[in-house]
Structure formats: structure tokens, C-alpha cells
Amino acid sequence: MYEYVVYLLAAAVFLCIVRFLRGPTLPDRVIAIDTMSSLVIGIMVALSLYFANSLFLDIAIVYALLSFIGNLVISKYMMGEVRK
């Protein structure tokens, strides 16, 4: 029953990959990567219920923190591009 949630989120990840390949500027690609990381967090939550294993939720927490820090670093890089 839980695998249908994984199918829906995988279809959403496919749409985000199309936006990542077609994005005209750099922030479009960054927003697509951020959305894909959120969807991967949702896939991990659904897989933790599918396998009945709560270690997937720990990995999801660490993945959320790492994607947040990566987004902040990339946005600081894009702002520092201007001031030169």
C-alpha cells in the first residue's frame, strides 16, 4: 500500500529533472535541485514505512540538514558573483 506514494513522488522527481535540464539560468537549476531533495526526503519516509525500519528517518533528517546548508552555500556563491 505504501509503494503507491513512492510511485507518485518518483513521477514528481522526473518532472523536476526535466526542469533541471531545461532551466535557462542558474537559480532555476538550484530550485529544481532543492525540490528534488525535498521529494527524496518524502521517498525515504514512505520507504521507512514500507520496510518497517526507522533508520530511514534518521537518514532523512541528516539529508534535510545537508541540503539546507548546500542551498545556503550556493546562494552565497551567487551573491558573491555580483560584488566583484
Binding site: 500500500m1 505504501y2 503507491y4 506514494v5 510511485y7 507518485l8 513522488l9 513521477a11 514528481a12 522527481v13 518532472l15 523536476c16 526535466v18 526542469r19 539560468t25 542558474l26 537559480p27 532555476d28 538550484v30 530550485i31 529544481a32 532543492d34 525540490t35 525535498s38 521529494l39 526526503i41 518524502g42 519516509v45 514512505a46 521507512s48 514505512l49 526507522s54 528517518l57 534518521d58 532523512a60 533528517i61 534535510a64 540538514l65 539546507f68 542551498n71 545556503l72 550556493i74 546562494s75 552565497k76 551567487m78 551573491m79 558573483e81 555580483v82
Partner: protein
């Protein structure tokens, strides 16, 4: 049963948000569609997990993950859109741009 229905509605909202990410014409409106995926999709899936497994370790970790997403997702979206504006991406669906006037006044003084 209610938790399973909420998880399926969350998956539908994730597909709708990703379709908006594909169809919107601008960076800023695309960040609006990204918020639908973050809050409407993933947090609704986490609420479904909490209602599905009532009192267990799954509910505790899902509650912590939901609080974490509610705190970090607006900060990340705000930082990316501010960096997009400062790196020269022009907003298309806009009537008045007030931040440009403020920035020029600050840079003159």
C-alpha cells in the same frame, strides 16, 4: 486509513507542485511552486505517518523532521530568490519594482 489517504493526497500535491515548477515562466513564481512541494507534499506525508503509526518511534522522528522542514524551507527559498535578484535575473510578471529604487538610493549615499 486516514494516514494512508493523507499520504496519497501529499503525493498528488507533490505532482501538482512539480508540474507548476515545469510550467511557470519565471524564477520567482517557480519558487512559489516549490513551496507547494515542500509544505503541501512532504509535510502532509509526515502528518500521514504520524496518524498512521500513532505512538511509536516513527511518529517522534517524523514530528522532528516536520519541524525541521517548517524552519529551514522558507529560509532556503528566501536566500535563493535574493541571490537570483542580486545576480541579475529580471522578474517578468511584475508591475512595480521598488527594491531597485531603494538599492540605487543606498548606493548613491
Amino acid at each position: 486509513m486516514i494516514g494512508m489517504g493523507l499520504m496519497l493526497i501529499g503525493g498528488m500535491l507533490a505532482i501538482i507542485g512539480s508540474f507548476g515548477l515545469l510550467r511557470f515562466p519565471d524564477v520567482y513564481s517557480r519558487s512559489h511552486a516549490q513551496t507547494v512541494v515542500n509544505v503541501g507534499g512532504v509535510c502532509l506525508i509526515l502528518i500521514g505517518v504520524i496518524l498512521d503509526q500513532l505512538v511509536s518511534i516513527f511518529s517522534l522522528k517524523a514530528l522532528f523532521l516536520m519541524i525541521l522542514i517548517f524552519v529551514t524551507a522558507p529560509v532556503a527559498t528566501h536566500a535563493i530568490t535574493k541571490a537570483a535578484y542580486l545576480s541579475g535575473v529580471k522578474p517578468e510578471l511584475i508591475v512595480v519594482d521598488e527594491w531597485r529604487k531603494t538599492r540605487s538610493r543606498v548606493s548613491r549615499s
